[in-house]
């Protein structure tokens, strides 16, 4: 190991451990400056990535949790916009969050929003599409940025009320509920909305590679008829569905 490597390994340990006195580094008061810079940058990245969580628990609680996460799981990569992929799972096991069972699921949705925001996707606007005549020979393709969820609690409603306050009523409770949710970026802005049972069943069938006929049957089974008949058109108008591909004819 070169002298440089030794110095840097020692420095990195001192940066991430607030109990470390920095002996041997010769930094003096500068160690606190560098520690502060690292902490501020890491916490700022997590705050930007998990704004709903931060809103729900307040800045002080969040920043303390973010700092603990940073010290335990520092970034591995300079793409700070994407830092915090395992923050939701870490929060689920974080003792101070024990009494906030909605927090880790909300963090997962914040993460999904971020991933949809940064994902590759078509630049053209969505358009309503009519499905081909032979539904059993085709399947629907979903928007590449789509993240599909089905929660058994009101976490989607809570998250939407914070994230898109103009669209949703405020002050909701954390209760048991059947709440499917879509998060996707049809063009430039991330969109999110709860899905009715038919739409969810249709999209889930498409996600699973099933034929349009099977998807439509699943939608019909999930709720009353009517909307299911024009699902392909309405979902493509929103950009959730982006096209139709022939199914592999092999048995």
């Amino acid at each position: 190991m070169s002298d440089l490597a030794r110095f840097q390994a020692r420095f990195a340990r001192a940066l991430l451990d607030p109990e470390d006195d920095g002996a041997g580094l010769g930094l003096g008061p500068a160690l606190a400056v560098y520690r502060n810079n690292v902490a501020a940058a890491g916490v700022e990245a997590l705050a930007a990535a998990f704004p709903t969580v931060r809103q729900m628990v307040g800045e002080d609680w969040f920043d303390a949790a973010a700092l603990a996460f940073l010290r335990e799981r520092p970034p591995e990569d300079p793409r700070l916009s994407a830092y915090g992929g395992d923050f939701p799972d870490w929060l689920a096991a974080f003792p101070p969050a024990r009494d906030l069972p909605y927090l880790a699921p909300v963090a997962r949705l914040d993460r999904a929003w971020l991933e949809a925001h940064l994902a590759a996707g078509p630049q053209s606007p969505p358009a309503a599409l009519r499905p081909p005549a032979d539904l059993s020979a085709h399947r629907g393709t979903l928007h590449p940025t789509l993240r599909l969820f089905r929660f058994s609690t009101s976490v989607p409603s809570l998250w939407l009320a914070h994230r898109f306050p103009a669209d949703t009523p405020g002050d909701l409770a954390f209760v048991a509920a059947d709440e499917p949710l879509a998060i996707w970026r049809p063009q430039h802005e991330v969109r999110a909305r709860k899905l009715d049972p038919q739409a969810y069943a249709f999209l889930a069938a498409c996600r699973d590679g099933r034929s349009l006929a099977a998807a439509r049957a699943a939608a019909l089974a999930a709720g009353p008829p009517g909307p299911a008949l024009v699902l392909a058109e309405t979902l493509s108008a929103e950009g959730l569905l982006t096209g139709f591909t022939p199914l592999d004819p092999r048995p």
């Binding site: 991430l16 400056v33 591995e76 994902a119």
Partner: protein
């Protein structure tokens, strides 16, 4: 092929100013971004950058390659930087004389190291690797320092001069960093400039700083304030020696309105215009 527009004074580009940056009109205006912020798969920020880059020259400023790290630059990161360069054909590409990676962790800061001959050889190898990967020369930025550190075998100007001589890279001279380091370590900013290979300066950064809230007496390079008069004075003195160089107003932290940033940028542009004209004969 049309000649590349001459770069005068530029601004660091912030997302909240995308629309204004796109619409801005000013001779020689250019924009700089942190490369890592655009190493994403897709989405609106890339679309904005494409639009802005069509109208104004772009500079890619890397912060995370850890060129002074003992570990070699991350190959995937280099590849992402190369892809960005290919896509945007930036007028300038730069990185830092600093490290940030060790033991699998990336520390989001620009960290110092003892300037030994061993370190020099390592940094030269890494800059060579970077320039080869990109197929172009890069500019290396001088750091803001908060501690003298022990074990130096070279002064910073000598280290940078060797780096330039051995790799053919240029320098990104951050005058706020010179001012902050000089204040923190007790050396002369003018003396530092005198010892640098000024011909190698390809870009100038101007930024603001703050006093350490921790009351250490240190100045912190936080890019959160307007450029101070001492730094403007250093800039004038430098331009007298080098002539005009692309000069960036770097305000990353809590930036003010775009109009305010442009006003600061315009002051830099005027300095650059004055630097073009030969000094009047002294009577």
């Amino acid at each position: 092929m049309a000649a590349r527009p001459e770069l005068s004074a530029g601004l660091g580009l912030k997302p909240q100013h995308f629309a204004e940056a796109l619409a801005a009109e000013a001779t020689g205006l250019w924009f700089e971004v942190h490369a890592e912020n655009y190493m994403v798969e897709g989405g609106p920020r890339l679309a904005w950058l494409e639009a802005i880059a069509e109208r104004h020259p772009l500079s890619l400023h890397g912060v995370g390659l850890s060129l002074a790290g003992a570990e070699p630059p991350d190959a995937a990161h280099l590849e992402r930087l190369r892809a960005l360069c290919d896509r945007f054909a930036p007028a300038l590409v730069s990185e830092h004389l600093a490290w940030s990676r060790a033991g699998g962790a990336y520390m989001p800061d620009l960290l110092p190291f003892p300037r030994t001959r061993e370190a020099l050889a390592i940094v030269c190898a890494h800059v060579d690797r970077l320039q080869q990967a990109l197929g172009r020369n890069v500019l290396i930025e001088n750091p803001a320092l908060y501690a003298p550190l022990a074990g130096h075998e070279l002064t910073e100007p000598d280290f940078l001069a060797e780096l330039v001589a051995r790799t053919g890279c240029g320098l990104l001279l951050d005058l706020n960093n010179v001012h902050v380091s000089a204040s923190n370590l007790g050396f002369s900013a003018r003396g530092y400039l005198d010892a640098l290979p000024l011909d190698a300066v390809g870009e100038i950064h101007l930024a603001g700083h703050a006093e350490d809230a921790g009351r250490s007496g240190l100045l912190i390079d936080d890019h959160g304030a307007p450029v101070c008069e001492a730094v403007w004075a250093l800039c004038s003195a430098l331009l007298d020696r080098t002539g005009p160089r692309p000069t960036l107003i770097e305000r990353d932290n809590n930036p003010p309105s775009f109009a305010e940033l442009m006003a600061e940028r315009d002051r830099a542009a005027r300095l650059l215009d004055q630097a073009k004209r030969p000094l009047a004969a002294h009577v």
